[in-house]
């Protein structure tokens, strides 16, 4: 009873915030008030999430899943869907991340967006995003999840194009927003098809009905493979995996807090969450699992290589996000669902931290984003510099910071599952990660200043630095809940999530293994990270011609990486241009104009002609009317009597 109200409040408070700021924001003159409404609603949601979480810890493991039905939503034929939320270990974890990190980023935005003419609109969108995201992760059925899924997509679109009057790269921010939206639509088709298949197979879209039914299917059943492949297509769109990752780097056109919240910490992990939520379906489809793992590993490596050479501070972080998401999918693909979720959490901490740090730098440098034109910012931005360093160490995988535990768990599960080629890719990727992160840190904060003109960067206000500090602390200690048993920890998070993934692990016949080799792998990955850091430090801390010489020696490869493997160009030639041309020449000017419009117009003029012809009967003379009447009478009586 109590839970129902709490959950409803947690979900609908952000909506209330959206409505207040969205409808009345323009008239609320005070930024403080708008920011307080925007952040306060999320803060309250976070408090509620904490209450629910502690309540859950106090209940026996068997009773931890609660379904909260608010009202019946759609009843049509065999389809019956409610606005209902499922509170369990998985969704509460996501809820804590989304509202917790979201709250910090809201606070940060008060400082970052200060003075923006559309301050109110920003907070309205941000709140709407949290509302949609909560629907996505708390939904107890696929349809409501899809509502949230589309909702976050809409908010992402609105926020990428938030500064709609600004230029972005070769186009406008609107182009970037459209790109994100359209690419996501391709993934959404997959999600929709999956829903249709699920409904025809199981006759329901509710998790509580679908998953137990699915568990009865044999491993490798064809339907499961198709359902999960379609779902995974949806996930590659939302979570920026090969082949649909191209929108995420462009999404950096939005304000930096948006990049931190939506395009790093929360929304992009929706695909990971969705796969984890459907773990039982995926577990029954080994083919899909293999594809997930391979795509994850390939994305992790590919994005990391691009990240090595980018010069835009946010671009590096964007590719880093794509790469880290690849790790999460690698984890899911090898059946390490809990490890994947663990990485979602730690990544939310350190990537939000890094993005907000980048925002702080950009803020101080007056919208400069090129790291070639930075350097030596450590002294001017002490808090930002230090917290950024913590984030970099965390993501590089140096113990005992959070990134080490989550990434190592993934690598170990990959290796112990027998996927050693994928492990190698992940292992190499870890080295690259350490390298590009420290390249970024060194070029930004170390060395001497490389910018021209009168710029006096100074530290950001408290509303921005406090979230940085909090996130830095979380990045340091966040891994402690997942210390593996081999290091004497309890791997708390895996045990906490175990009931959710139990059926899937049962279907995959997974069992935990530990052994001496685990230590060996740990040590080697730490060494790998250390090597990456050392190299980056040597090359970039002080001006050195090493990188340039290296780039000249491998000029071809360098060009490929700098141009992001030419993926955008390939899509342009292979997909976009043929589609546009085909639409224009054939579909529009051919079929649409000459076939469809022509037919419709002819039908219209025909109907008009008939109307004008027949209306002559309406003479206005009453006798004529009576005559038609009698004719009708005779026809009717004649018909009935003759039948």
């Amino acid at each position: 009873m109590m839970t129902t109200q709490l959950v409803a409040m947690a979900v609908f408070l952000p909506l209330a915030g959206f409505l207040i700021n969205g409808l009345a924001g323009r008239k609320l003159k005070s930024e403080l008030l708008i920011g307080a409404i925007g952040s306060g609603t999320i803060g309250l949601s976070f408090v509620i999430a904490l209450i629910l979480f502690t309540g859950m810890l106090g209940t026996p493991v068997a009773d931890r899943t609660t379904i909260v039905t608010l009202f019946p939503w759609i009843e049509a034929g065999a389809l019956s869907t409610s606005f209902a939320y499922q509170i369990d270990q998985l969704s509460i974890l996501m809820m804590l991340i989304v509202t917790g990190v979201g709250f910090l980023i809201h606070i940060y935005s008060i400082g970052y967006m200060h003075g923006d003419p559309s301050f109110w609109r920003f907070f309205a969108y941000l709140n709407l995003f949290i509302f949609a995201m909560l629907n996505l992760i708390l939904a107890d059925n696929f349809l409501l999840m899809f509502l949230g899924w589309e909702g976050v997509g809409l908010c992402s679109y609105l926020l990428i194009g938030f500064w709609y009057d600004r230029r972005f790269e070769k186009g406008s921010t609107g182009d970037a927003a459209k790109k994100a939206f359209i690419v996501n639509r391709i993934g959404d088709v997959g999600f929709l098809i999956a829903m249709f298949l699920i409904f025809t197979t199981f006759g329901s879209l509710d998790f509580v009905s679908v998953f137990p039914q699915a568990a009865a299917f044999p491993v490798g059943h064809e339907v499961m493979t198709w359902i999960t492949l379609a779902l995974f297509l949806g996930a590659t769109g939302k979570s920026a995996q090969i082949p649909l990752f191209v929108w995420l780097p462009d999404a950096m056109a939005g304000p930096t807090p948006v990049s931190a919240l939506i395009h790093a910490a929360t929304m992009v992990t929706a695909g990971v969450y969705m796969v984890a939520r459907c773990s039982i379906l995926f577990a029954l489809a080994p083919t899909t699992m293999m594809i997930v793992a391979v795509i994850g590993a390939a994305t992790a490596l590919m994005a990391a290589t691009v990240g090595l050479v980018q010069n835009d501070i946010k671009k590096v972080l964007a590719y880093s996000t794509v790469s880290q998401l690849g790790y999460m999918f690698l984890a899911l693909g090898v059946g390490a669902f809990a490890a994947g979720l663990f990485h979602v959490m730690t990544h939310a901490f350190f990537k939000a931290l890094l993005f907000l740090g980048a925002g702080s730098v950009i803020h101080a440098m007056h919208e400069e984003q090129d790291i070639q034109k930075m350097g030596g910012l450590k002294s001017a931005l002490p808090v930002t510099g230090r917290t950024f360093l913590i984030g970099a160490i965390a993501i590089a995988g140096i113990p005992p910071l959070s990134g080490f535990f989550s990434k190592d768990e993934i690598l170990w599960k990959t290796f112990s599952g027998g996927y050693w080629p994928l492990w190698i890719i992940g292992f190499v990727g870890a080295g690259l990660t350490a390298f590009y992160m420290f390249r970024l840190y060194a070029l930004t904060f170390e060395g001497t200043k490389r910018w021209e003109g009168e710029k006096h960067p100074h530290e950001s206000p408290l509303t921005m630095t406090i979230p940085l500090i909090v996130l830095a602390v979380l990045s340091v200690v966040g891994g402690l809940i997942g210390i593996p048993e081999s290091l004497g920890g309890g791997n708390t998070i895996e045990h906490f999530l175990a009931p959710v993934f139990g059926p899937a692990e049962l279907a995959m016949r997974l069992h935990a293994t530990h052994g001496g080799i685990e230590y060996l792998l740990m040590i080697s990955s730490v060494l790998m990270a250390a090597a990456g850091i050392t190299l980056a430090w040597k090359w970039y801390r002080t001006a050195s011609n090493q990188p340039v010489r290296f780039a000249e020696r491998f000029a071809g490869l360098y060009r490929v990486l700098l141009n992001k493997w030419f993926v955008d160009e390939m899509y342009e030639t292979a997909v976009i241009r043929p589609t546009v041309r085909g639409s224009e020449k054939l579909l529009w000017k051919g079929i649409d104009v000459h076939v469809i419009d022509w037919t419709v117009n002819r039908l219209g003029t025909f109907a008009q002609w008939v109307s004008r012809t027949v209306r002559v009967v309406q003479t206005g003379v009453t006798q004529n009317y009576a005559f038609v009447f009698v004719a009708g009478v005779l026809l009717i009586i004649g018909w009935i009597l003759s039948a």
Partner: protein, 472 residues
């Protein structure tokens, strides 16, 4: 035994007819009794309407089996009272600014509603006829209520001539049925249909009765009076005739023909199906080339009679509840549409052409918005009530095996999109100058209530569908 009990069972009829008599007296005794008369009439219609909504009683009979009470009769009574109530609110200023005898107008509305209630409660064809004539006589007078208006007089006279003509057929049909069955009791006639279905007199009687009803609902080819009368009559009266009058005729049609008779006698059902198809097509096609809003709405009203007839053809529960839902929705949206037209109309009866509405959204945004809403609902676009109304009757027809009729219905309503939305396009996407009509609080309240109800019924159609499902 006729007594107090019988009277109590027919509460709505009692309220409306007594208040009609009282208003008549008030109007002739007091010089300035208009205000009192109006509020009394409005209150009694509201009371009778609310009685139907909240106090639907057990089904029974009253007055020695001449009237059925409760259930269906109560629901229909509420519907008619609602139509009357909306019309009253919309009319007060409209009629007041055109004539001096508003008191009579209220009396006529009340008696028309009483006649309608009598029709829906009839257990005997004689009572049905009584109600029909009571309603029609009021309509004849109402149509020509603006005595100095040439068009009004023409409308009234045409309506009277053709109405009398149709009444002849109806009465003749009743006579034939009496000859064939030996009774005018509806129940008795229906139950003897199975063994009389090949008897010529019986079939002729049925046909003539059907024709009488088809005239009242304005089905092709008995619709010729509709455009002329609807155009010439005062706009608020037109709104009342097209909603209350049509609803009453359909309630009688449901009582006699659907669902019990149509399913038993094949040829009758076929004839109704063909007429439904012709009505849907004809009404919509003819509406296309109209340049006057009132004439357009007149032909649209013909087309809606066609949609409603598919529910009669369906002759099943879904079709019948669909008709009742449709009537409720249609009453709201059509009263609303005519109400807007009435507010915008000039005193001489001008400003009713399509062109007069261009750019209306700028000068009268509220009226334009309401009109757009009613047009969308008449088109049958969700989430408005008009959508579920069509859906209900068409799905009834499909369930009864008349898929072809439903297809014709959908295609015909496709045509209607043009002329309904043309008005919306004109209001919102072209320029024009308009005198801003003086605000009329009562009329605006009625329009807003109707619009709200259209939306409500569109979102929660089961409120009425579940209720009416118990009647059949």
């Amino acid at each position: 035994m006729t007594g107090v009990e019988d009277l109590l069972q027919t509460t709505p009829l009692l309220i409306v007819s007594i208040s009609g008599l009282v208003v008549l007296v008030i109007d002739s005794i007091f010089r300035n009794g208009e205000r009192l008369a109006f509020w009394l009439a409005a209150t009694s219609l509201l009371a009778s309407g609310l009685h139907g909504l909240y106090g639907i009683g057990e089904t029974g009979t009253a007055f020695s089996g001449m009237l059925t009470t409760g259930g269906y009769a109560d629901f229909c009574a509420a519907l008619f009272s609602l139509a009357g109530f909306l019309t009253l609110l919309l009319s007060r200023d409209y009629i007041g600014s055109r004539t001096t005898d508003r008191g009579e107008y209220y009396v006529l509305i009340l008696f028309a509603v009483a006649g309608m209630i009598l029709m829906a409660s009839a257990a005997d064809l004689v009572v049905l006829f009584l109600g029909l004539e009571m309603m029609s006589l009021c309509f004849y007078v109402l149509a020509g209520f603006t005595r100095t208006s040439f068009a009004g007089n023409e409308a009234s006279l045409k309506y009277f001539l053709l109405g009398a003509f149709a009444t002849g057929f109806l009465l003749y049909g009743i006579a034939f049925l009496y000859g064939a069955v030996g009774s005018t009791n509806i129940d008795l006639i229906l139950s003897s249909a199975s063994h009389l279905r090949d008897q010529t007199f019986f079939l002729i009687g049925l046909s003539l009765l059907l024709i009488g009803f088809l005239f009242k609902v304005a089905a092709v080819p008995f619709h010729m009076w509709v455009p002329d009368v609807y155009e010439g009559a005062p706009t608020t009266v037109t709104g009342f005739m097209s909603t209350g009058g049509k609803a009453a005729a359909f309630s009688a049609l449901l009582l006699v023909f659907a669902p019990r008779l149509a399913s038993q006698i094949g040829p009758v059902r076929e004839v109704i199906a063909v007429i439904a198809a012709v009505t849907m097509i004809g009404g919509n096609i003819l509406a296309l080339s109209q340049e006057n809003i009132k004439r357009m709405l007149a032909y649209s009203s013909v087309a809606h009679a066609g949609y409603l007839l598919t529910g009669v053809v369906a002759a099943n529960g879904s079709g019948s509840t669909g008709i009742l839902f449709y009537l409720a929705a249609y009453t709201l949206m059509n009263c609303g549409a005519f109400g807007v037209v009435a507010l915008l109309e000039s005193r001489e009866g001008g400003r009713t052409s399509f062109q007069d509405y261009s750019g209306l959204s700028k000068s009268s945004p509220v009226l334009a918005g309401l009109m757009a809403l009613f047009m969308f609902s008449l088109t049958g676009i969700p989430p408005f009530a008009g959508f579920f109304a069509k859906y209900a009757v068409f799905s009834g027809a499909v369930a009864a095996g008349y898929t072809w009729l439903a297809i014709i219905g959908v295609l015909a309503s496709l045509i209607s999109v043009y002329y309904y939305l043309r008005l919306v396009v004109l209001m919102y996407f072209s320029e024009g100058e308009h005198p801003v009509p003086a605000p009329v609080p009562l009329a605006y309240a009625a329009l807003l209530a109707a619009a709200g109800a259209v939306l409500f019924l569109g979102l929660f159609p089961s409120t009425i569908l579940d209720l009416t499902a118990t009647f059949f």
